[in-house]
């Protein structure tokens, strides 16, 4: 396998794995956050504005780790510097 093939295979596989594993953790964490928010809403409905706002802020924080993984996957597929370098080498030849 020459280096072009290795780069392509590694990028494709890792892009898939990054998104798939990267979304598991945040999904579990967000589920727990929403469950706790729901139970505290049930206990104190008067504080619903504060609870809802804090819940959304917390969810956005958790979501951002999933977004990091997604961005890395996109970089690997669409803006891969190693692939661009190798392509430019073969195009130059």
């Amino acid at each position: 396998m020459d280096s072009m093939t290795i780069i392509a295979v590694a990028s494709i596989i890792i892009a898939g794995i990054t998104t798939s594993f990267g979304t598991m953790g945040p999904a579990l964490a967000e589920g727990r956050a929403v469950a706790t928010a729901l139970s505290s809403l049930a206990q104190q409905p008067d504080a619903s504005a504060t609870i809802t706002r804090t819940l959304f802020v917390g969810l956005a924080m958790i979501e951002s780790t999933a977004i990091y993984c997604f961005v890395v996957s996109m970089i690997l597929i669409f803006a891969n510097p190693f692939w661009n370098h190798v392509i430019s080498l073969t195009a130059g030849k």
């Binding site: 959304f56 802020v57 951002s64 977004i67 996109m74």
Partner: protein, 231 residues
């Protein structure tokens, strides 16, 4: 597969080029500024007022209430900055319903610029409120060993703001683009609606996080300070 509005070039002259991000940002600025000017030409304080003025008042009072709830006691000092952040990001995503429009926040340039604005604004508000010494002292709280970690957390939260907004907007646009090549009819509409919802939530999150960072920097350190969220 277009990754960002940076790649839509409208006009080029040598090294200068007008790409989609710049043109759409100008369009947004135009709509926001001209719209506000037109609506606030004749403000009235009695019971009879125009619908648009009512609408703007709802938005402004809601933002002021949110800023107060976050812990900034005089919202009128901060609403210029925070309100503009929220309105810009919200409008940028809301206009996705217009065909041919790509949200400028889907480009890393815009989101990094907005995050840098917040990065600069937090010390400015902190120094205005507590003086230079008081603000710099907050970096060595609770102990001096925390100094590098506080600095790193400042930088990483700015980066997180930028990447969070960029990732959310870009993923929305990209999912719609991919779906359009697969199932042309109903599903992309559902995904556009979902993209609108996440856009509004992300605009709100951006504004609230900026407000929380400013509140953490301006909070008087006499009382026991509430822990500021990191990253």
């Amino acid at each position: 597969m277009r990754l960002s509005p940076d790649e839509m070039i409208f006009w080029r002259h040598g090294a200068l080029k007008l790409n989609g991000t710049i043109v759409f940002t100008w369009g947004l600025m135009f709509v926001l500024a001209v719209g506000s000017k037109l609506i606030t030409r004749k403000l009235s304080t009695d019971l009879k007022r125009s619908r648009w003025q009512n609408f703007l008042e709802i938005i402004v009072t809601a933002i002021e209430k949110q800023i107060e709830e976050v812990g900034l006691p005089h919202p009128e000092k901060y609403i210029g900055f925070l309100g503009t952040l929220f309105l810009f990001v919200a409008m940028a995503n809301l206009f996705t319903v217009i065909p041919g429009y790509q949200p400028p926040t889907g480009s890393l340039s815009t989101t990094v610029a907005l995050a840098l604005c917040v990065f600069v604004a937090v010390p400015i508000f902190g120094i205005k409120n507590q003086g230079m010494g008081g603000y710099l002292k907050s970096y060595v709280e609770p102990t001096v060993i925390m100094l590098p970690f506080n600095i790193i957390s400042e930088l990483s939260r700015t980066l997180a703001l930028a990447v969070r907004l960029f990732g959310n907007m870009m993923s929305g646009a990209m999912i719609i683009a991919i779906l359009l090549t697969i199932t042309p009819f109903v599903f992309p509409i559902v995904m556009t609606a979902l993209g609108l919802l996440t856009g509004m939530v992300q605009a709100y999150i951006f504004g609230i996080l900026a407000a929380v960072y400013i509140a953490a920097a301006t909070r008087a350190r006499k009382a026991k300070p509430a822990p500021a969220p990191k990253t």
